[in-house]
């Protein structure tokens, strides 16, 4: 009956505490996402091989964007920062990213008060940010409006945006041509959209439907997948039940496309071709491998953030685009949506963003 353990020693408690400490140590070791590769080889920035690349007057560029909730926006912020770093004459002044319009307005106001040389703004909501952008323009600070458009042209010096309608056109053209060459007369075409309440989703769908109509085709089934992987998986799993035989799928967004492809694999379906959207690095790798249903993706490249920084710098330094005759940067630039297939994927790989 002699107990040699120290007073108060409780084996169960000891094991419990030990277990918790061990679990904590294990978890702590599991938080890293470091690939061990150098991260600074991003090539989504201007190469700058002409006269405009030479350092000019010092410029401070303020940057305000929404909080990234998926790969595309994350790539936008990263590209803007990386691109600014390449210019020795640019001081980059980002403000905290937010998805609340009131906070974005006040952070832009802060930048105006600091009297930055130029502003690059990707508004969470273009309409809501119009007034503060005008205020900046009135204060003599040129505003580069990135992607989501302000209400009035008076609120920006230059607008650079992607072509959502054009994305739909490009996707429909690819699918239309494929169906024609395969001789499919009445194809079952499925569309997996992003968030229906967003203008960009409506534009993409409009471009898609109107272009398909030219081929005499229409969209058989369409569902919105909220731009998330989980929703993409869920919606697709159900869509595949609804349509026993599909000829083509257009998925608006390569981020949610990871879920779409997971659902397709889990259902063992492969009778159709799929076209992606935006142009993520993952989608490009799959197109290059050419093993699954994903045959193409239409771009909406976040590289536009790098271009926006370059434009802001040139505007502030009073320079034009050197390949154009005009002395000033144009008022608006709309990027073309390009179709990436196995044939040309190699030249686009560097523009792909990690989702």
């Amino acid at each position: 009956m002699t107990d040699l353990r120290p007073a108060g020693f409780d084996r169960r408690r000891f094991l419990a505490v030990g277990g918790v400490v061990g679990a904590g140590a294990l978890l702590a070791a599991c938080t890293s996402n470091d690939t061990g590769e150098a991260t600074n080889d991003n090539s989504q920035v201007a190469t700058g091989s002409n006269d405009n690349a030479a350092p000019g007057t010092k410029v401070t560029i303020g940057f305000s964007g929404p909080q990234s909730d998926h790969g595309w926006i994350a790539a936008i912020s990263k590209n803007a920062a990386d691109s600014a770093k390449r210019f020795s004459d640019v001081t980059f002044e980002p403000v905290e990213a937010t998805n609340e319009v009131t906070r974005q307005i006040s952070s832009v106001e802060t930048l105006i008060d600091k009297k930055v040389g130029a502003l690059v703004i990707l508004p969470f909501d273009g309409k809501a940010l119009t007034a503060v952008a005008r205020k900046a323009m009135d204060a003599g600070i040129p505003v580069v409006n990135l992607d989501r458009e302000f209400d009035t042209p008076q609120a920006y010096r230059t607008l650079i945006k992607g072509d959502n309608y054009g994305m739909g056109v490009a996707a429909a053209t690819y699918i239309g041509e494929q169906m024609k060459s395969k001789g499919v007369a009445n194809p079952v075409i499925v569309e997996i959209a992003g968030i229906d309440s967003l203008q960009l989703t409506q534009d993409r769908s409009r471009g898609f439907a109107e272009t398909l109509a030219k081929y005499g085709f229409n969209v058989t089934a369409r569902q919105a997948a909220q731009f998330t992987v989980e929703s993409g998986q869920q919606v697709t799993a159900n869509l595949l039940q609804a349509q026993r035989k599909i000829d083509a799928v257009w998925n608006h967004d390569d981020d949610q496309g990871v879920g779409v492809l997971a659902a397709i694999n889990q259902a063992n379906r492969s009778e159709f071709i799929m076209v992606g959207g935006a142009g993520s690095a993952n989608a490009m790798r799959l197109i290059k491998e050419d093993k699954g249903v994903l045959k193409a993706t239409v771009t909406y490249s976040p590289s536009m953030a790098s271009s926006a920084i370059s434009l802001a710098r040139l505007i502030a330094q009073n320079k034009g685009l050197s390949d154009l005759v005009e002395k000033q940067v144009p008022k608006s630039i709309t990027l073309a949506s390009e179709t990436i297939t196995k044939e040309n994927v190699d030249q686009y790989l560097s523009l792909g963003f990690e989702s």
């Binding site: 690939t35 909730d69 998926h70």
Partner: protein
Amino acid sequence: MTDRTEAPAAVEVPPADEQGRVEQAASATASPRLGGRLSEVRNLGLVGVLVILAIVGVATTDGAFLTRSNLLNILVSASIIGVVTVGMTFVIIGGGIDLSVGALVALSSVWATTLATQDYGPVVMVLCALLVGMGAGLVNGVLIAYGRLVAFIVTLAMLVSARGLAQSLSDRRTQLVTVDAINDIATTEVLGIPLLVYLFAAVIAVGWVVLNRTTFGRRTFAVGGNPEAARLAGIDVRRHTALLYVVSGLCCGIAAVMIMARTTTGSSTHGDLYELDAIAAVIIGGTLLTGGRGTLIGSILGVLVFTTITNLFVLNNLPTEVQNIAKGLIIVAAVLLQRRSRASSP
């Protein structure tokens, strides 16, 4: 208890679930108008809704609804939110609420799919997801039980901070699962039925046994029904309350593993609004938000109703907005139907 109309029934065979026994005991001591057969009609309302949905499905979808693969698809779709709902049922019967479940699924999925975790292989990934879920649940439980904070506030704070942590760990990127063993969970079938469905069934079975056949289950009803009485009866109410949140966290961890397999990713956007779906399923399943009463089977039926609605809407190619409106209406309808069937039962 005054809305019960049943006369005291013969008590030779005790009801199968704890809820039935609670009611029976109550009828023996407190109210002569309450009986044990109540639990048998409890879920009739939901079964009725499911039958109606099935009829609508057969009528509107041209044979696509009533196929083996579609029915399995509904079960697989229900499995992830279903596992979360099992944990939620425990918490709500125990008199609490857990708003953090969606965020915990996200955090567990992200933590278990970082490159560092994936290096250790599938076993560590699964362990990691379970530990993160349980750990966060423990934090919830300790703050609520021992810190005497309101469950609504603590789990709301956890909702915000767990999702924030998930975003910062993942840098808001979608983390692809490259470990095949995890992805295989979603593609493996045993006897023609997906592994995820077995997992779901196993969680329900364990949950049902724990809730209805163990001291832990009985204590859950006692703590939720009247914590002071439970304390006087010798139950360590605080420890039990804390454990309920750990159970919920564990369910979130299991759900995270399932979602990793199903979507082949870990992401801070996973589990969006799961808290609402799970709470809605528990409530239309007949569990009282105030605690002390409820059934696990009701909650599961609730989940199946929601999943079937989503399935029907996609089969009929209807947009998401309409789906959300219908979901709200069906919650109200199911609760009304349930109250009627309760009131009119013999």
